[in-house]
């Protein structure tokens, strides 16, 4: 209770890290990263053309947004991710829940879905381009293929993890099959399903950039490929940073969503 706390040992095994130490640690590692970058570029340790300084990248990012209409590229990319991700979820969540609930449905789809999971989505790019041309469709299709099979499997597994006792309890309370699936199995698995969506969102971003780098004139990836042609390494790095920030923001969005949707999970702490 006094303020003369014994000094904490930095290497204490599995003990809680305090708030202040946590913040300092998180900022510290980034400070070192940018520090090394700044020092290396300003002292001429690296080729300025290949590794531009952080200041240059920042200026380039500002220029891209203010003078070169980069925000429309960003909007196009974000739109692609969200539209295709929404389509994937619309199919994957009902199907995954059904597969996790009814072994008969699992028996039909599981062999199919697990085979598709081993086909790398980018291998479909050539055929998608031939089928859909160069518009939005091939990009959306690639993201859809890249996300859906993993999402189905994750949703199925989370649904299977719903404890049998919950289902038996509902049965003995007189619940019908319909009620059990919609009012017990789904709500019980829902928090984990949202977590699975969060994980798959990261994958959607990965496929987006692949799609835009390979065959696109719009979007963040396309901007980066244009920049490469003009040896604009600062703009390439801007693109990477913007993608990173967007990924981080969607992750935060999902965390907030999780907290809002499932207050009963947080109240424990």
């Amino acid at each position: 209770m006094t303020n003369s706390k014994p000094p904490r040992d930095f290497f204490s095994v599995r003990s809680h890290v305090g708030r202040v130490q946590g913040i300092i640690s998180a900022i510290g590692i980034w400070a070192i990263f940018f520090g090394v970058w700044i020092v290396a570029t300003s002292l001429g340790w690296v080729n300025e053309l290949l590794v531009p300084s952080p200041q240059k990248v920042l200026t380039a990012t500002h220029d891209l947004f203010v003078n070169r209409g980069f925000s429309s590229d960003v909007l196009v990319s974000v739109g692609r991710v969200f539209i295709s991700f929404a389509m994937a979820c619309t199919v994957a969540i009902p199907l995954g829940v059904a597969m996790g609930t009814f072994p008969s449905i699992e028996a039909i789809f599981a062999p199919f879905v697990s085979a598709w999971r081993y086909l790398p989505a980018p291998s479909f790019i050539p055929i998608l381009l031939m089928w859909f041309g160069t518009g939005e469709a091939p990009k959306l299709a690639l993201l859809f293929i890249g996300v859906i099979f993993f999402l189905i499997t994750l949703v199925m597994d989370h649904t299977k993890n719903v404890r049998t006792e919950l289902i038996e309890t509902a049965l003995t309370l007189g619940a019908s099959r319909y009620v059990i699936v919609l009012k017990v199995v789904f709500p019980a698995a829902f928090p984990d399903i949202v977590t699975a969506m969060r994980q798959m969102m990261a994958m959607a971003w990965t496929y987006l950039v692949i799609a835009e780098i390979v065959a696109s004139t719009t979007g963040i990836g396309a901007m980066m490929m244009r920049a490469r042609r003009f040896l604009k390494t600062d703009e390439i790095l801007s693109g990477i940073i913007v993608i990173g920030v967007l990924g981080l923001l969607t992750d935060v969005l999902f965390r907030v969503l999780h907290r809002q949707l499932f207050p009963y999970i947080e109240v424990k702490h």
């Binding site: 404890r163 509902a170 003995t172 309370l173 009963y264």
Partner: protein
């Protein structure tokens, strides 16, 4: 206490282990449970007590003279594992069964309040189950099952996961509930004290395979239920019965080893 409400007749259950081996878990178990009585299924672990109880939810059993098919609202079940629906408040948990069975909202509300009050959770009606202790969660499960108005309450080691003190408080609560609601109960346990305290009749099952070894009426209670545990252990006949049950338990243990 004379009309038989639940009839378990010649229940047998064989499990298949691998391709060749089978295990006879339960063989020819028969007993009856009288209306408004508490029947305890007691026996060593692995004797198939829970299996017998489950057949009461699955079938091969007659309830009020009618054969039972599949689980249903007439046989309410409380499990050892916590079965609260975490995404619903305590009140909504208790209402769940009634909602499923299309009881109108006013009656639902009234019954929910009544049974929450009965198990002492009125103050926690709007809490989430994750905010409650283990004993309170089991009380939610009991209130939820009773509110659904089952003919018989089946409990599978309901207090097995609770600490000792909570456990005997819950046992006393069950006596209180049985007295106030006249609910017929079948309770599975391997706890001798729990069996003696709760039971109007004990069905002792032997192990491997589970058979009815003995039906025991705790005669020392003279057909009455005792409301508190410190009272019952001082009664004449209590320790004799406990000794007898211990001997039965030990016999089964020896047979196994």
């Amino acid at each position: 206490m004379s009309d038989t409400l639940l009839e378990v007749r010649e229940v047998s259950k064989t499990f298949t282990l691998g391709s060749r081996k089978t295990l006879k878990a339960v063989e020819n178990v028969s007993f009856g449970v009288e209306q408004n009585s508490i029947c305890v299924l007691l026996g060593p672990s692995g004797c198939g007590k829970s299996t017998v109880l489950r057949t009461a939810t699955e079938g091969r059993v007659a309830l009020g003279g009618k054969a039972v098919t599949g689980p249903g609202q007439d046989r309410g079940m409380v499990f050892q594992a916590y079965t609260s629906f975490d995404w619903l408040s305590v009140r909504k948990n208790v209402e769940f069964g009634m909602k499923v069975n299309n009881i109108d909202a006013a009656k639902r509300r009234e019954r929910t309040n009544h049974f929450l009050n009965l198990v002492g959770l009125s103050k926690f009606a709007d809490a989430y189950p994750s905010q409650l202790s283990g004993g309170m969660r089991q009380r939610v499960a009991i209130a939820r099952t009773l509110a659904n108005d089952p003919e018989v309450l089946l409990m599978d080691e309901p207090f097995g996961a609770l600490d000792a003190e909570t456990r005997w408080l819950m046992q006393e609560l069950m006596i209180d509930v049985a007295e106030k609601t006249n609910t017929t109960m079948v309770i599975v346990t391997h706890d001798l004290e729990e069996a003696i305290f709760l039971a109007d009749k004990i069905i002792f099952l032997s192990s491997h395979p589970g058979r009815v070894k003995e039906e025991i009426i705790p005669a020392f209670k003279a057909g009455k239920r005792i409301a508190d545990k410190e009272h019952i252990i001082r009664m004449n006949g209590y320790s004799d019965l406990e000794e007898k049950l211990m001997r039965l338990m030990r016999e089964e243990g020896h047979r196994e080893n």
